[in-house]
Symmetry: C2
Subunit: 294 residues, 2 copies
């Protein structure tokens, strides 16, 4: 690889998904900076494992990078774009977060006003640092092909959409709108069945007519409880996305509430059982109604 | 079969699901009455096909029947129970409709006040008149075993829950809460993806990571559009059911809105395409945003 093709990339920040992105950038032979200021010991350890270079502060990352990749929880995405713009960034800013198309386009206006270019991104798949082919970074906007070049090797693949900024975010909202929205609904239904004393009967009926559902409803709770705190902002963005095209936002307002009630499982070491999670979802235990499973 | 074991059953009313119930009762050797007054030609034809006996009026059915089976759209269930109670019915009243547990228990109080007994029912599966084993009638309450005896032969099987009235309705709400609620969510997501110009990209991503979803999201629209008018009241009952145990009702408030927007497909002869249904879900067509599928 020639010196000219070595593009310095700033990665904000190396959480679980950020580490997957960083692994990919490093595998492609690019220097990848991060800012350790005010980050946790776990984040420092991940950055080291992945081979990132510590630039210290956000300001140092912004000064040294030609491309900045933003990989943060949705509720922090707009603040980060504003902070990078305020530091005078004039390179290529990629928002890869789970935000509404309108949120992405607004970030585009902010960074472009500061003299940078903007690419809209959306990541679909698990935060893998090893298996290529399971997770894709969708990219939209005039600079998308340049950004895709950073994903030539390593775990994450890039897919360029022939569409203006907002399309990659819309795709992410649609995908997560079913995936996480549906899992929240499944969790709510199990909690309802437990509250009404018909959970065993529901599982028996599902085994006959919908044989995947007993296991997938358990996974909806087990796999999500400890990550639920991160999904609250994402559900807000999806609700906003549907409302913007005249669809009911209430599916994802309900999903937001389900994940918010599970947010206390952040930083716990084991996943709750379906019964434990249902107790959180239902709030205070209700007096027994004397009902039993059939 | 001895004369004593021939129980006269009143079936209100032979719609599609009612005809499946009536087929089962007739297959079990029981006289099955219906009331043709004010019913449509299509309903008369179904009643004839199934072998029901026309008692003429609701009053005549109530007078002659030892068991009454109520199989109506959810929004009509409580009115029918009140009408039967007002006619002085003193037999066994079975509400087999998709209603909230609280709605079922309230109907129980109404018919018991008139001197009848009450069994809570919930039907899960398609309105088949032929294949036994695909559709089950769940029953709850002290008279459930007597009612189950009416389902010994024919397409519908009975399952008795060892639980008080309300449990069969709760099971139906849980089952339909996922099944129809999830299908409404899938339909909304396809409409969103079309509105944002990312439907082809969503289908391509689903083909890789969720290969069942392209077809199941089409079925969510094709199979439901012409029946959507019937699901509006059912979604109200599910929302009410979840709220009663402290869960968010908004999933099914949104699902109600989706089905309400499709209600105009009642009595149409062909199912709409995904694109046609999406246009109804999105309301008036929006001006093009210039976005295209990636």
């Amino acid at each position: 690889m020639s010196a000219e093709s070595r593009i310095t990339v700033g990665l904000l920040h190396p959480g679980e998904m950020g580490a997957a992105v960083g692994t990919t950038v490093v595998a492609g032979g690019m220097p990848c900076l991060w800012a350790s200021a005010a980050r946790s010991a776990a984040t420092r350890a991940r950055a080291r494992e992945v081979g990132l270079e510590d630039a210290g502060t956000l300001e140092a990352v912004v000064r040294a990078s030609r491309v900045i990749l933003s990989v943060v929880p949705p509720h922090g995405a707009a603040d980060l774009a504003r902070a990078v713009a305020a530091l005078g960034f004039r390179g290529l800013y990629v928002d890869a977060n789970a935000v509404a198309p309108a949120t992405a386009r607004e970030m585009g206006r902010v960074v472009e006003a500061a003299g940078a270019r903007f690419v809209d991104g959306g990541i679909i798949g698990p935060a893998t640092r090893t298996r290529r082919g399971v997770t894709r970074v969708y990219l939209a906007g005039p600079g998308a092909t340049e950004v895709a070049a950073l994903f030539r090797a390593g775990p994450l693949e890039a897919v360029v959409l022939d569409a203006p900024p907002g399309a990659a975010s819309a795709l992410k909202m649609a995908y997560a709108g079913w995936n996480k929205g549906g899992q929240a609904l499944l969790a709510a239904i199990r909690a309802f069945a437990l509250a009404e004393g018909v959970d065993a009967a529901l599982l028996a009926e599902w085994k006959i007519s919908k044989p995947d559902l007993p296991a997938s409803s358990e996974r909806a709770i087990h796999d999500n409880a400890r990550k639920a705190w991160r999904f609250v902002g994402e559900m807000d963005e999806i609700a906003r996305s549907l409302a913007a095209v005249g669809l009911p936002p209430a599916f994802h307002e309900a999903a937001r509430e389900i994940f918010a009630r599970l947010a206390g499982y952040k930083d716990t070491t084991t996943s709750p059982t379906v019964e434990e999670a249902a107790a959180k979802l239902l709030g205070q235990p209700r007096p027994s109604t004397g009902r039993r499973d059939g």
